[in-house]
């Protein structure tokens, strides 16, 4: 089989499965955090995008993200990619040893989880219909263009190469996945508004073991997410896997320890810190070494902790902290890549090696992604809200979304 590297194929097959698994796992992480009456709904906000975005991706998303530049590189397009109908089964993805169809599947899993992450801001109050329409528009108008800029060689990529002489580094989606979803969540929290009762009373997580089951699935799947992004079973994948695990570990401990100083160290802090570390290492995984990963993870854990405190102090109901954990640590990870990148690891050095251009490229890349995300997310959210309504009625929210949106009760009452 010409051009195929079976080891690479084996690893990316497994990685794709793992990323899908973590996308579903996110539902449990989020679902355990909400009130009992909204757990099914919250899980569905991660599950539904897996299905919905997968179909969008096959029909248009892959083309928009990885097609050849159109509209000056704003997005891509390739008619062969529509429905993947023109892609031969035997075609190899350029520059890799894996089938193009596998590449499409792997990348599609990233698009799906990104929408799952931003559902944080919708938790316990979104209309299912509104969410689904929003998801379709957002993945098409935000995710796909940004993916094209950063990974598809589009506009921003070319701009940075031309102006700064440095291509933005984003190994597995710090910008494409975490900055976009995290900052989208920030905007959405403002558009949809706080849950009724937010700020007046506590909403304690209804099922912490479920959150931790989700955490385990995320931690596991992230190895596919990051090390799979090497698109090969090679030295780079090995490094990515190692630093991913290290950053998760140091993020988890850092959050736990900093929280410990103010009270008791919760498991939710540990879990959030692990995710914070995983997010921060995502763009850096192919470029930094283990010791840097400890630092990147530790900073991520501490940063996440204070960002959660900050958004609570601001009275903002970005309910499950996609912004604090994913958005801000996607940003930190992008910057950290510009600082800690080592030529001996991924062929590019960062600020510590005196490469100011790379550092600048990371900043500009992140800034543009944030600005674009914020603007377009806002527009879509407002439009969807007008069109079909983003938010359930007061009564529906009171009764809970499981019953009002899904007609289901998560844990049967009075059962035998």
């Amino acid at each position: 089989m010409e051009g195929l590297d079976p080891g690479a194929v084996a690893w990316v097959l497994a990685s794709t499965a793992m990323v899908v698994f973590m996308s579903l796992g996110l539902g449990f992480f989020y679902g355990g955090l909400v009130r009992r009456k909204n757990v099914v709904s919250t899980i569905m906000l991660s599950f539904v995008p897996v299905a919905l975005v997968t179909l969008q991706w096959v029909m248009v998303g892959f083309s928009l993200s990885f097609g050849r530049d159109v509209l000056g590189g704003f997005v891509g397009f390739d008619s062969r990619y529509v429905g993947l109908a023109g892609v031969g089964v035997g075609e190899v993805a350029e520059g890799t040893g894996i089938p193009l169809l596998l590449y499409a599947a792997f990348q599609g899993a990233f698009a799906a989880i990104t929408v799952g992450i931003l559902s944080s801001a919708f938790a316990e109050r979104v209309r299912l219909a509104g969410f689904m329409l929003f998801a379709l528009l957002w993945t098409t108008l935000v995710y796909d263009p940004v993916a094209h800029w950063v990974w598809g060689g589009g506009l921003l990529h070319r701009f940075l190469v031309e102006r700064l002489g440095a291509a933005p580094l984003d190994f597995a989606g710090g910008t494409v996945v975490h900055i976009t979803s995290g900052f989208a969540a920030l905007v959405l929290a403002l558009v949809i508004g706080a849950r009724r009762g937010f700020g007046e009373r506590e909403f304690p997580p209804h099922n912490i073991p479920l959150v931790l089951v989700g955490t385990a699935m995320l931690w596991f799947g992230w190895f596919g997410f990051n090390a799979g992004s090497a698109l090969a079973a090679d030295f780079s994948a090995a490094n990515a896997l190692l630093v991913t695990h290290v950053a998760a570990s140091s993020g988890a401990l850092a959050w736990m320890l900093v929280a410990w100083r103010r009270g008791r160290p919760g498991s939710l802090g540990f879990a959030s810190g692990a995710v914070a570390g995983l997010v921060a290492i995502t763009p850096a995984a192919g470029y930094v070494d283990a010791v840097s990963a400890i630092v990147i993870g530790a900073v991520a854990g501490v940063l996440g902790y204070y960002m959660v405190l900050y958004r609570l102090r601001r009275g903002l109901d970005e309910s499950l902290d996609a912004w604090a954990v994913h958005g801000m640590n996607g940003l930190w990870g992008s910057i950290a890549t510009g600082i800690f990148a080592r030529s001996s690891v991924g062929g590019v050095g960062g600020l510590l090696e005196g490469n100011v251009a790379q550092f600048a490229a990371q900043l500009v890349d992140a800034a543009v992604a944030i600005a674009y995300t914020v603007a377009v997310t806002y527009a879509i959210a407002v439009a969807v809200d007008r069109l079909v309504g983003l938010r359930v009625s007061e009564t529906e929210e009171y009764v809970g979304l499981d019953i009002s949106q899904h007609g289901e009760e998560a844990y049967a009452w009075g059962g035998e």
Binding site: W413, G414, E416
Partner: protein, 108 residues
């Protein structure tokens, strides 16, 4: 004023609720309990030996009613709809209530 406390089989709860509703008794408070009666639970035969399972899940219904006729009627409806004729059907207790306050209106 009386409180009717009925402990019934969970699998009969929906039927009881419906029957009460049809007779115009909608208000109620319910919760899951466990219990055993004088039979001391249920006996299982397991390879010769007898295993006793006690504390069988039940549903408890509480309905506070003004009049004695209502009490009579509610008791009858519950009993008729909860009865299977086998041990474990449950009990109804009538407990005196001195006052009842509706929180929404503070009316008595």
């Amino acid at each position: 004023m009386k409180k009717v406390e009925a402990i019934i089989r969970p699998e009969r709860f929906e039927q009881v609720k419906k029957a009460l509703e049809e007779a115009g008794y909608t208000a109620m408070t319910v919760y899951e309990v466990r219990g055993r009666g004088e039979q001391r639970g249920i006996e299982l035969q397991y390879r010769g030996a007898t295993i006793r399972v006690d504390l069988i899940p039940k549903v408890k219904i509480e309905i506070v009613l003004e009049s004695d006729e209502d009490v009579e009627r509610v008791v009858r409806i519950i009993a008729e709809n909860a009865r299977t004729g086998r041990p474990g059907d449950g009990r109804i207790f009538i407990i005196p209530v001195e006052r009842s306050i509706r929180i929404r209106t503070l009316e008595l």
